[in-house]
C-alpha cells in the first residue's frame, strides 16, 4: 500500500463483476450514480464463465445426445458422434458472446481490473498489474461470490482432481468420473457425463442426494441415475485419489472406485477472507457469510453485501435481485429483499422449487393442503416421450393461498416461472386453477395440481 496515496472519490463502488455485481452496478448507474466496478478476473463471474451458462450448454448437448436412444426406440435411427473438443469450442463462443453482453450492460459504469481490499468504511485499495489505486466511496457493494469448498485429502490439481470449473472444461469425455458431493452441481454434471458415456459414481456424505430439495423430487432423479447406471454411494466420504482410483470410507468400510477424474462438488465457500473486513469492523459468520439487513446493509452502514457472501442459497438470481435492492437503497429508494428465491437443478428430470415445501410448511405451523399433477397424465409429455415427474402445489388451507410449488420434470426450470409469480403475488389456488393454460402443453400441469390441492383442501385431507 502506498502511503499518502490520493484517493479518487466515487459515489458507488462495486467489488465483483458476477451477476450480483454487474446488476448492482448497472442499476446504480441507471439511477444516476457514478459507479466503479472492480473485477479481478473476467466480467460475468462464476455463473457466466465457469458455472450456470457453460454447464447448461453441456447439459443440453448431453440431453440431446441421449434423446437419440429414445428416437431409435420409436423408429428414427440416429447415431450421435460427439466431437467433444468442438462442443467445448461452441460452449466458449456462447460464454464469450454473453460476457460481451455484460460489457454493454455496463456502458455507464467504469470497470477497473484488480483485487480490492477495504481500508476503512469509505476507502478501498485496488491492486492490479499497474500498481495500487485508492478510492473513496459513499457506498460500497461487496459482491465477491464464492468458490468450491475443499475436501481434505482431495487437492484440486486441475488434472485428475477437478472442481466444477475444471469438469466443465474437459477436452474429451472421460471414461470414468467420481463426483464427490451429491448436491445439484455434482448431480447435474454427473448425469451429463453419464449421458455422454462416462462411467459415473456419486459419493455423498449424508443419507441422500439433492438434500436441498423435497425428497419426493430427489427420488425422480434417483430413478434416472439408476437407469443411466450411475452408482450412488450415500453415507460415504472420499478420503483420497491415487492411481486412477478414489478411496472412500463408509459405515461398511473402505472401498476404491475407479475414477479417471474426480469432481469435487461439496458446496461453496464465500469469498470473504481477502477483503480485510476486520478493517471496517464487519463480522464474518463462521460459515464465511456476512450478516445483512433487508436492505443488504452490513453492520458498517456504508458497506452492502449481496450474492453468495450473504446467507441463503448461492444462486445467481438471488444475487441479481439483492444487487438491484442494494443499488436502489443507496439511491434512496424504498427497496428491500423479501422475495422467495426459487431453487432449480438442471438434472434429469429437472427440479425446481419455490416457497414452502410441504414439510417446511408443516414445521412452520402452517396448515397446508397438497395437490399433485403427474406428467404421466399430460398429453404433451406423452408426445415428447418425457413423462417423469410431477407438479406439486402447497396451499394454505385457510386462505387457499399458494405457499409453495415444487416441480420435477422436463422444463421444470421454465415452468417454475409461473409458480414464482403465483407465490410472490400471493395467488390463491383457485386463481391458478381458473387461469387458462394452452393445450397441449406442460404448463397445464400447474393448474391441474392447484385444482387437486383445492379438492384436498375441501375434503380436509392432505
Amino acid at each position: 500500500m502506498v502511503v499518502g496515496e490520493v484517493a479518487r472519490p466515487v459515489q458507488v463502488l462495486v467489488i465483483g463483476g458476477g451477476p450480483g455485481g454487474y446488476t448492482a452496478a448497472a442499476r446504480a448507474a441507471e439511477l444516476g450514480k457514478e459507479v466503479v466496478l472492480v473485477e479481478r478476473k473476467r466480467l460475468g463471474g462464476v455463473c457466466l464463465n465457469v458455472g450456470c451458462i457453460p454447464s447448461k450448454a453441456l447439459i443440453t448437448v448431453a440431453h440431446d445426445v441421449a434423446r437419440a436412444g429414445w428416437l431409435r426406440g420409436i423408429g428414427v435411427s440416429i447415431a450421435p458422434d460427439v466431437d467433444f473438443a468442438a462442443v467445448q469450442g461452441w460452449k466458449r463462443s456462447v460464454v464469450d458472446r454473453l460476457v460481451g453482453g455484460v460489457g454493454q450492460l455496463l456502458d455507464k459504469v467504469e470497470v477497473v481490473s484488480g483485487t480490492a481490499r477495504l481500508l476503512g468504511p469509505r476507502r478501498v485499495a485496488v491492486e492490479s498489474a499497474d500498481g495500487v489505486a485508492h478510492f473513496r466511496f459513499d457506498a460500497a457493494i461487496l459482491a465477491t461470490g464464492s468458490r468450491p469448498m475443499q475436501v481434505p485429502g482431495l487437492v484440486v490439481d486441475g488434472v485428475h482432481v477437478l472442481d466444477s470449473s475444471g469438469a466443465l472444461a474437459l477436452e474429451s469425455v472421460p471414461a470414468s468420473l467420481a463426483v464427490v458431493g451429491g448436491g445439484y452441481i455434482g448431480v447435474e454434471l454427473g448425469i451429463a457425463y453419464a449421458k455422454l458415456g462416462t462411467c459415473v459414481t456419486v459419493v455423498e456424505m449424508t443419507d441422500r442426494i439433492l438434500g436441498g430439495f423435497d425428497p419426493e423430487l430427489a427420488r425422480e432423479v434417483e430413478r434416472t441415475l439408476d437407469r443411466l447406471g450411475v452408482a450412488v454411494r450415500t453415507k460415504t466420504s472420499a478420503t483420497g485419489h491415487d492411481g486412477g482410483c478414489l478411496t472412500v470410507q463408509s459405515p461398511d468400510g473402505t472401498a476404491t472406485i475407479p475414477a479417471e477424474h474426480v469432481l469435487v462438488a461439496a458446496g461453496r465457500q464465500p469469498n470473504t477472507d481477502d477483503l480485510q473486513l476486520a478493517e471496517v469492523g464487519v463480522p464474518v459468520l463462521p460459515s464465511g457469510h456476512l450478516e445483512v439487513d433487508e436492505q443488504r446493509r452490513t453492520s458498517a452502514g456504508t458497506i452492502y453485501a449481496i450474492g453468495d457472501i450473504t446467507p441463503g442459497p448461492a444462486l445467481a438470481h438471488k444475487a441479481m435481485e439483492e444487487g438491484r435492492v442494494a443499488a436502489e437503497v443507496i439511491a434512496g429508494l424504498p427497496s428491500g429483499f423479501d422475495q422467495e428465491v426459487p431453487l432449480i437443478a438442471f438434472t434429469d428430470p429437472e427440479l425446481a422449487s419455490v416457497g414452502l415445501t410441504e414439510s417446511a410448511a408443516r414445521s412452520a405451523g402452517v396448515d397446508v393442503a397438497v395437490g399433485r399433477s403427474r406428467f404421466a397424465t399430460s398429453g404433451r409429455a406423452a408426445t415428447m416421450g418425457e413423462q417423469a415427474g410431477f407438479v406439486k402445489v402447497v396451499l394454505e388451507v385457510g386462505s387457499g393461498v399458494i405457499r409453495g410449488v415444487q416441480i420435477a420434470g422436463l422444463g421444470a426450470s421454465d415452468l417454475i416461472g409461473a409458480a414464482c409469480l403465483a407465490v410472490e403475488t400471493a395467488c390463491r389456488a383457485e386463481d391458478v386453477m381458473r387461469t387458462i393454460s394452452p393445450h397441449p402443453t406442460l404448463s397445464e400441469a400447474f393448474g391441474e395440481a392447484a385444482a387437486a390441492g383445492m379438492r384436498r383442501r375441501e375434503r380436509g385431507t392432505t
Binding site: 386462505s399 387457499g400 410472490e424
Partner: protein
C-alpha cells in the same frame, strides 16, 4: 408434552399487557378454563383462563412485567396434549404478508409494517389501499413510527431537550395512557373539529328527575343526570342519523351507523375509560341509568370486560363533576361527534323579557367537519336542547 401458551390479542388491537398478578406458580397444577393470571390491558384488568389442564412448567414473565402480544405467557405440561401448531406464534416463514412485491415496496415507503396488518382483499390479501389506510392511522399496524419525517425530527429535538434534565421523573407511556395518547393524537391530526356551545335551561329536567327519583330508587337504581343526557343524545341521533356516522377514508365512504351505542366517558386514576351503552335510544331511562352506573363502577375498578368498551358510535362526556362549565371535547375516532356537559348552576337568564335566576346546563358539541357542517351541528344541538328542556319526551321512547 410442554404446551406454550402465548399472550393472545384479546381485542381492540392489543399490543402488550402488564402481568399484574399470577394466580398460579411454577409446579402448580391448573385446570382448563381456570383463571391463571390477571393481566392489565390498555383498558381493563382481565383474568385469563388456562388453555389446558396440566402442570405449570414455567411462567413467561414476572408480576409487573409488560409482555408483548405473541410472547410466551405460560408453559403447561400435559402428556396427553399434543401441541397444536396454530396456537404457537407462526415462525417467520409462516408469517408472510399476502401482498404483491409492489405493495410491499409501498409499505416500506410508508413505513407500514405488514406483519399483523389484516388485508381486506380476497384471502386476506393486503392491497395498496390497506397500506395507505394503515399509514393514515398511527395506532394501527403503522405503529407509532409511522409519522412524517418532519414530525419525527421535531420529536427528536424535543427528546434532546428532555434529556438535558436527568433529575426529572420519567413515567413509561404504557397501557391505557399510551392508548389515549394514540387515539387522541390520531383524532387531533386527522379530524377537523368544529364546536358549538349552548346553555340549556335545566329547570324541567331537574324537576322531572326529582319526581322520578323515588320510584327509581324503589327499583334499586339511582337516577343520574347522565342517564337523561345519554337518552337525549341517543334520541337526537335518531333524528339526525348523519351525526351517528363514521368516515371510511380508504373506501371513500361515510358509514351511517344502524345502532345508537353511546359511550360514556368515565374518569379513573389511570385515565379516561369509555364504556358503551348499546341501543340507548331503544332502552328505558331506568335501564340506561342502571347500566351507566354499573359501567362506571366497573371501569373505576378496572374490571370492565373489553367487550363493554367497543362498538360505540357516539360519546357523551361530563366535565361537570369538578365544577367545569364549557369545555371543548375531542372526538373519539371513528365516531363523528362528541357531546359534553358541564355542571348545572344557577345563572341569570332572560325569560320573557325579564331577568330571572334559572338552573343552566352548559352544553358543548364537537363534530367532525368532514361529515358534519355547521347547520347540521346546530340542528343537532337544538334537538338535544329541546329534549332536555321538555324532558318528558325522553320517556316516550321507553322500550
Amino acid at each position: 408434552m410442554a404446551y406454550e401458551f402465548r399472550l393472545p390479542d384479546i381485542g381492540e388491537g392489543l399490543t402488550e399487557a402488564e402481568i399484574t398478578r399470577w394466580l398460579v406458580k411454577e409446579g402448580d397444577s391448573v385446570a382448563e378454563d381456570e383463571p391463571f393470571v390477571e393481566i392489565q390491558t390498555d383498558k381493563a384488568l382481565v383474568e385469563m383462563p388456562a388453555p389446558a389442564t396440566g402442570t405449570v412448567v414455567r411462567l413467561g414473565a414476572a408480576e409487573g412485567d409488560v409482555l408483548p402480544v405473541g410472547d410466551v405467557l405460560i408453559v403447561i405440561d400435559d402428556a396427553k396434549l399434543a401441541a397444536p401448531s396454530r396456537n404457537g406464534q407462526p415462525g417467520p416463514e409462516a408469517a408472510r404478508a399476502l401482498a404483491t412485491p409492489a405493495t410491499r415496496r409501498l409499505a416500506r415507503e410508508m413505513s407500514v409494517d405488514l406483519r399483523g396488518l389484516a388485508g381486506t382483499g380476497p384471502g386476506g390479501r393486503v392491497s395498496d389501499e390497506d397500506v395507505r389506510a394503515a399509514a393514515a392511522a398511527p395506532s394501527s399496524a403503522g405503529g407509532y413510527g409511522a409519522v412524517s419525517p418532519a414530525v419525527s425530527a421535531a420529536a427528536s429535538d424535543l427528546a434532546s431537550d428532555l434529556a438535558a434534565q436527568p433529575e426529572d421523573e420519567r413515567i413509561p407511556l404504557r397501557g391505557l395512557r399510551r392508548r389515549i395518547t394514540e387515539t387522541m393524537t390520531q383524532s387531533w391530526q386527522a379530524v377537523p373539529h368544529i364546536t358549538a356551545f349552548r346553555e340549556v335551561d335545566a329547570g324541567e329536567l331537574l324537576a322531572l328527575r326529582q319526581r322520578l327519583t323515588r320510584r327509581a330508587e324503589a327499583a334499586g337504581v339511582p337516577l343520574t343526570l347522565t342517564a337523561f343526557l345519554v337518552k337525549a343524545a341517543a334520541l337526537a341521533l335518531v333524528e339526525h342519523p348523519m351525526v351517528n356516522s363514521s368516515i371510511d377514508v380508504a373506501a371513500a365512504e361515510i358509514v351511517v351507523r344502524a345502532s345508537r351505542n353511546i359511550g360514556v366517558a368515565v374518569s379513573t386514576p389511570a385515565g379516561l375509560i369509555v364504556p358503551v351503552v348499546r341501543d340507548a335510544d331503544r332502552r328505558s331511562l331506568l335501564a340506561v341509568s342502571a347500566e351507566v352506573r354499573e359501567h362506571s363502577i366497573a371501569a373505576r375498578d378496572r374490571r370492565i370486560p373489553p367487550a363493554a368498551l367497543t362498538g360505540g358510535t357516539f360519546t357523551v362526556t361530563n366535565h361537570g363533576p369538578l365544577g367545569g362549565w364549557f369545555g371543548t371535547a375531542i372526538i373519539r375516532p371513528p365516531e363523528a361527534a362528541i357531546l359534553g356537559f358541564g355542571r348545572v348552576q344557577d345563572r341569570p337568564a332572560v325569560v320573557d323579557g325579564r331577568l330571572e335566576v334559572r338552573p343552566v346546563l352548559p352544553m358543548s358539541f364537537a363534530a367532525d367537519h368532514r361529515i358534519i357542517d355547521g347547520d347540521l351541528m346546530l340542528a343537532f344541538c337544538i334537538t338535544v336542547q329541546e329534549l332536555l328542556e321538555n324532558p318528558a319526551e325522553l320517556l316516550l321512547s321507553e322500550g
